[in-house]
Symmetry: C2
Subunit: 189 residues, 2 copies
């Protein structure tokens, strides 16, 4: 839980009472590799915080290919925002790439905290905006750079992820085939 508290306090101040209140709502949970945190066709019902492990957001395009859209690693919030905020069915899966240990808040508890703790909404806003901006920034090199450059910048953007995920996921994230990624790796060594 300590990681979560540290994470939160980067974005604003809360007193001990408020922190305790948040922690009473937090539940630890494990998700096995390949299992889903949230699913396409369902409404996201939890906000998570990754203590250990890597998750990914993926979907199936019109050709039925599985596309990895994003990776989330330790000390980050994981939530299908569009679905969670608007109570609409998601079009994407959030899946554990490795075994994961996470802290979760139910939607009910999350909203209760927002209504109860003064200033909590501001902190949450900051967290969400930062994560969204980071997402835009991380995905930017995927356009207008060649595949090798994309791979190199992936390593900078996700330093803790590169060696813990299957080549296939990374290839689809980078928008290239598995073969191409394999060749790129070979050329770089």
């Amino acid at each position: 839980m300590k990681e979560l508290v540290n994470y939160i306090l980067q974005f604003g101040n809360l007193n001990q009472h408020q922190i305790d209140l948040i922690l009473t709502k937090a539940k630890e949970k494990e998700i096995k590799k390949e299992d889903y945190f949230s699913e396409a066709g369902k409404i996201a019902s939890e906000v998570g915080f990754i203590i250990d492990g890597i998750m990914r957001v993926c979907y199936y395009n019109n050709k039925g290919e599985e596309i990895t859209k994003y990776f989330i690693d330790e000390n980050n919030l994981v939530v299908d925002l569009e679905s969670f905020d608007n109570n609409i069915c998601s079009s994407a899966y959030v899946q554990a790439v490795t075994d994961c240990k996470i802290i979760v808040f139910s939607k009910k508890d999350w909203q209760e905290l927002l209504n109860t703790i003064i200033g909590w909404d501001t902190i949450v806003h900051k967290i969400i905006s930062k994560a969204l901006m980071q997402k835009v920034a991380r995905r930017s090199p995927l356009v207008s750079e060649d595949a090798t450059t994309r791979y190199l910048s992936f390593m900078e953007m996700f330093p803790n992820v590169i060696n813990r995920i299957p080549l296939s996921y990374l290839a689809s994230y980078l928008g290239i085939t598995q073969s191409s990624l394999s060749r790129i790796r070979k050329n770089i060594r």
Copy 2:
């Protein structure tokens, strides 16, 4: 100003008094084609709302090529968030692609409104989150789709933009050369 008020009220409710207060801070402004709304190396100092015209976000990559990262058209907020929120120098330009008529708020006024109007911060947060999510969604096809598909989905994502911008800007947004874009257009007709 009516457009602005309608836009805001989509995201939450305000009473007439609050709306009037916001409008007292709003200033109309024109930006000539090619002129900048905010610049790389400077700190963004205004939030804008486009009444008429198209703007773009662009930057220069390490090879000195000008890359268009995003387009913003009528009835949308325009602000270099990263720079504006954190008071840091921007790395991107926000430039008028056509002559523009916009409404602007100075940073000082903007913050004053946030401190004064109860609920305004929530509305602003919703606006910003939605814009950021839209940005992610709009840029997503730029990865893992071929150039023609990217062009076609650009037309869906930015229906009001396609015929009002130079080919060169669009090509760099799509991550292809001008020649390629020209050829794609030819094939599609």
